[in-house]
């Protein structure tokens, strides 16, 4: 980790279920405004409800948060939130593509899909972070990132409201780190 060059990573991907909203807000509020990687956030959200999730997250974030459109480029220092009712994929050329195919693990967006596509496209140059959640979606995607030698962080289950999601990941592989939300912020700020 320490020996890796500046701008080594191509993106940070973060996944959690609806309940992880406050953790994501906290992370984005704690992150320095000169953070130099794109951050992709995939949260389970309720269909048909204009939840104000984007507005809510933007309120406290130090970095601009947006819902990407199909084929948009990702840029350093921006946060991309998977839009409601679409799966969000990362392509080889650092663009996003969207899909309305079947729900996966009862979810659209599915964290597994976003994470696996990021690991396929960026291989070891991805940091995957899985947060609190009540569903096993994301575990397989984290495992893919781990298998391709990306860096993996699981939120410490002791700090989770619902620990199904982190525990499902921990059952599949041993991540590089298990961290509290504060630990995650510190890690990102020291990248």
């Amino acid at each position: 980790m320490m020996n890796r060059k500046a701008s080594y990573y191509k993106s940070v991907v973060i996944g959690g279920s609806a309940g992880s909203f406050s953790i994501v807000s906290k992370i984005l509020a704690g992150i320095k405004s000169d953070f130099r990687y794109p951050i992709i956030v995939c949260l389970h959200r309720l269909k048909h409800i204009r939840s104000g999730l984007l507005e809510g997250i933007n309120l406290k974030s130090n970095l601009p948060v947006l819902e990407p459109f199909d084929k948009d480029n990702m840029e350093a220092g921006k946060v991309y939130l998977a839009p409601s009712n679409y799966h969000l994929f990362v392509e080889f050329d650092s663009t996003f593509s969207l899909s309305t195919e079947e729900v996966h693990n009862h979810s659209r967006p599915s964290i597994d899909y976003t994470f696996s596509s990021a690991s396929t496209s960026f291989r070891e140059k991805v940091i995957g972070i899985i947060l609190t959640g009540a569903n096993k979606d994301g575990a397989t995607g984290m495992h893919e990132i781990h298998k391709k030698k990306g860096y993996t962080i699981v939120q410490d289950p002791l700090t989770c409201d619902v620990d199904t999601m982190p525990k499902a990941a921990l059952q599949l592989f041993t991540p590089d780190q298990i961290l509290s939300p504060d630990g995650i912020i510190e890690f990102l700020n020291n990248l």
């Binding site: 048909h48 819902e67 990407p68 459109f69 199909d70 084929k71 948009d72 839009p83 009712n85 679409y86 994929f89 990362v90 392509e91 080889f92 663009t95 593509s97 969207l98 899909s99 309305t100 195919e101 079947e102 899909y113 596509s117 396929t120 496209s121």
Partner: protein, 280 residues
Amino acid sequence: MGNLTFKTYLEELKKHTPYNFCEYSDNSIQRRIDKVLKDHKMTLEDLLHLTRTDEAFVENLVDEITVNTTELFRNMETWEHLYTKVFPNLKSKKNINIWHAGCSTGQEVYSNLILFNELGLLDKVKVVATDINQKVISNAKKAEYLYSAHQSSIQDYNEFIKKYNSNAHTFEHYCDMEKNTDKFVFKDFLKKKVGYMRHDLVSQDIPFYQKFDVIFCRNVLIYFNPELQMRIVRKFFDKLYDGGVLILGNHEALHGFFKTRFIRSGMVYTKSSTFQFKYK
């Protein structure tokens, strides 16, 4: 064929069948094929063999690879915009030509016809609807759906239309409910307005002579790579009247050249005869 990749497979598929998925977004087409392999418990080599030899299998494969998600009145705010701001402008026209490109199982086709009927313009409307997938076309023609799967969209429509016109027909006016089953079917006066046909946007020329006032193509372009998207949008552009509208999915966007040739309002893109340099 030990090192057969999904890309060479797609080349073979193109060679041996009418279908060309070579320019679909890499990640997404690869995942769809992986899913097919998993569902059928076969290798890519097995898939290639069947592709070369079994025509019925290929038709079924197209159904499995393509994404057919659709809803009645998907993204209500877009329909509200069409009903209040866009479609009323078509009143002075003698005919209103509409094309649903990638119509899937037809829910949006009927949603749209309902709005035109509510605007008193149904008689002027001529609708064609196309999809690459023969199976979904057959279902769209039947116009038979499950009530439970569409209940919340139906409620949303009823609330929306009453807001603008207290004398409007509710959704129930447009369909026959089958007693004791969960099914409903759209009435003939809507069904007979639509000409359905199988058509592949990617590999076939556009089969219509007329130009269109409205083209729906929602959540279709997202599966194509940027170059292919551009080629398809060019075809739409050429087939639209000046001032005609292209309606895309909620998180789709036009990139590159055509960004400057349409005026955007929400998901509705109006063909412009002049360049739009201030587009954002």
